[in-house]
Amino acid sequence: LSEGGVVGDGDDDGAVTIGVLEDRSGEFALVGESKWQASLLAIEELNEAGGVLGEEIEVYDPDPQSDNQRYQELTREAINSENVDALWAGYSSATREAIRPIVNDEEQLYFYTTQYEGGVCDRTTFAMGATARQQLGAVIPYMIEEYGPRIYTIAADYNFGQISGQWVRMLAEENDAEVLGEEYIPLGETDFGSTINNIQGEDPDFVASMLVGDAHTNFYQQRADTGLDVPMASSTTMAQGYEHLRLDPPALEDMYVGVNFMEELETDPAQAFVDDFYEMFPDAPYLNQEAQNNYFSVHMWAEAVEAAGTFDQEEVIAELESGMEVDAPEGTIELDPATHHMTHHMRIGHADENHELTFDEEQYIEPTFLHEVGCDLTSEPEQTQYTPEEFYDEI
C-alpha cells in the first residue's frame, strides 16, 4: 500500500503538481474560498517568476465541499494519482485528523494552514496557523486584565472546540481566573436563545468564544438582539469569517480576537499583499488569516525546494527542518524545526460598536506547548497530537 507512487519528484510526467484541497462549498466554504484563492495567487507569482527549479507549478484543486469523506478520497487521489509534491488541505481540525492517517501512510509533505488548537507533532505535517497557545495565550490574559477573572466558554463541539476549551481553563488557571461554565455547541446549530440565557445567568466578565462555521455566526446576531453586552474573546471570529463585515453593527461590539493577520492590518507588507490579492480576485469578499498562511507557506515551500535543489519530499522536509525564515505579510516569521510550527506575530484585534478595528499588543510568540511536551521531530519522528488535558494535571 505504501509503495504505490509515493515519490512525487515530478519527473514522471514532466509537471510539478501541488495539491490544494480547500472548501468552496458546504459549511466551511466561507473561509475555504479565500484560502484557495491565496494559494492560487502564490502559485501564479512563482510561475511568473519562472517557476520553481525552473519548472512550472501545476495545481490539483477539486472542491472537497467541507466533507471529510470526500477529503479522504481526494487526498488519496492527490497523492496516488496526481503524485503531488506537496499538499495543502483542509480548514477544520476534523478534516486534518481525517486525512492525516493517509498523509502519514504515504509519507506525504502536508501543510495545514488553519489557526488551530495546537499539539500536532507529526514528521510530515507542517502547521502554519497560530495555535491556541499563541492566540488564546495572547487574548485571554489580556481580557482578564481588562475586564476581570470570570469567564464563560462557548465553543464548537469537536476536537478544535474541546481542546480550545481546555486551553481557556489552562490559561484561567495560570492567571488566577475562573471558568464559570462551558458550552460545546454542535456545528450547524443556529438557535442560541438558551445559550444566551445561560450566559446571562452566570453573568461573566467576558465570554471566550470558539464558535466555528456559518451556522454559529448566528450567535453574534442573537447576542446583539438580546442586548447581551458582555465583551468577548475569541480565536475564531472576524479574521476568518469576517463577521464584522457581514453583520450589522453593533453585533460584534467589544469582540477581541487573537490573530496573526487580518486584511485590516496596516503594515506595509500586509497592505501590499492585500492589493495583490484583490487585483487577482477583485470580487473576493475578504482576505482572511488562513489565506495569508496558505500564501506564505507556498512561498516557503518553494524556497525550501530551491534550497534543496530537488522536489524530493524527504529532502524538502530536511530543508524545512533546517530552520526557515520567511517574509510573510504578517511580518518576518520563523519555522521551528523541532515542532514544524511557526512563531507568529500575534495581535489582539478589537471591534468597536461600529465594527472599526484596532490592533493592540503585538507579541512575537513561539509554539511553546510542543516544546514543553518534548516534541522534537528532528530527532524523534512522531505522528501524534498532544492535548493540554493529557499533559497538565491542573485542568
Binding site: 470526500r70 476534523a94 485528523e97 463541539d157 472546540g161 474541546q162 460545546y184
Partner: protein
Amino acid sequence: MSEKPSLEARLRGPFEGPNTIGNSRRFWLSFVLGTALLAVYPVLFGAYAAESTSVYLVYGLLGVSLAFIWGFCGILSFGQVAFFGVAGYAFGIVSINLASYTGATLGVLTGVAVATLLAALLGYFMFYGGVRDVYVTIITLVVALVLHTFMGQTAGSQWAIGEAALGGFNGMVGVPDLAIGFGTAGLEFAGAMHYYVTLLVLVATVLGLRALVNSQFGYAMVATREDEARTEMFGYNTTFIKFATFTIGGALAGLSGVLFVTWGNYIDPSEFAITAAAMPVIWASIGGRESFVGTIAAAVVIQRIQIGLTGEWALVVVGSLLVIVILAMPDGIAPRVGDAVDYLRNRGGGEPAEPPTATEEVSD
C-alpha cells in the same frame, strides 16, 4: 426455463424467476463477463485503481441492501445509512480495542450483529406497531438523523469506549484494516485485497438475494409489496415478512458499513446526515429498485461522477441528472436497458424477444 435440466439451467435455476429482472442467457453472459472484468480490473489498472474503486463497490452493496427491501417488499427505508454507520463504528470500537486478527474478526461479526440488531429492533418497533408507508420512510430517516446528532456531539474525551474515541464531528480515526484470523495468525485485506473481498461479497450477495427473491419467501415479499392486506388473507404473516426483510436489509447495510470503515480506516457522523441518507435511495431509483445489478451500477457511476466532476457546475449537473432520469424513466434505467436491447433485436429481425434483461455490469 428450458425443459431438460442442462448444467447451465441447473446453475441458473435457483437465481432466476419472474421476480427478478434479467433471466435470459444474455443477462447471465453479461453478468459473468462483468464479474470477470471486475476481477481482472486490478491486474490491468494496478492496485491503486482497485483500491479507490473498492469504495464504489461498497456503496453498491449499500444500494443493494435498499433495493432488496424497497424493490421487493415495498419498504422504502431512508435510513440504510444508520445500519451502515453503526456497523462501521462498532467495527472500529472492537478492532481498535483488540488490535489483533481476533479483534478485526470480532469487529466484523460485531459490526454486522449490531446493525442487524438495530434493524431488528427498529423493524419490530415499526412493523409490529402498525407504522406503514411513507411513515416508515420518515421514521428511518429520523433515526439516521438522531444518530447524526448524537454522534456529532461525542467529541469530548468522555466519549471514548476503551481505546476507541468516538470523536464527534471529527469521526473515528485509525480504524484497522479488514482482517480475518485468530491472535497473530490470519489474513489482512488491504488495498487490492480489500477490493477482491468486496467484489466477492457483492457477487455472493447479489446471487444470494436473487435466489431468496425467487424463493417462496420472495413471492411472499412481492405479494406483501403489492397488497399487504390481501396477502395477510392468504395466511401470510406480512408483519413478520416485512420485519424479516427489513432486518436482512439492515444486516447487509451493516456489512457494507464494515467494508466501508475498513476501506478508509475512518468514519464520521456525516454518514448519517440527510445527504448521505438520500444517496442509496437515489442509486436504487436511478438504477432500478428491482434490479440489483442496476442499483450497483448506478451507485458506482453516480459516486464516481460526484468525485470525478470538479468545478462549480458539478453539483448542478448531478442534480439535473437526477431530475431528468426520474422524469424520463420512472422505474429507473435497468428495466429500460432490457427494453432497448429487445427493441434493437426485434428491429434487426433477430430471434424472438426474451424477457427484459438487466444492464451490464459497469466496470468503472
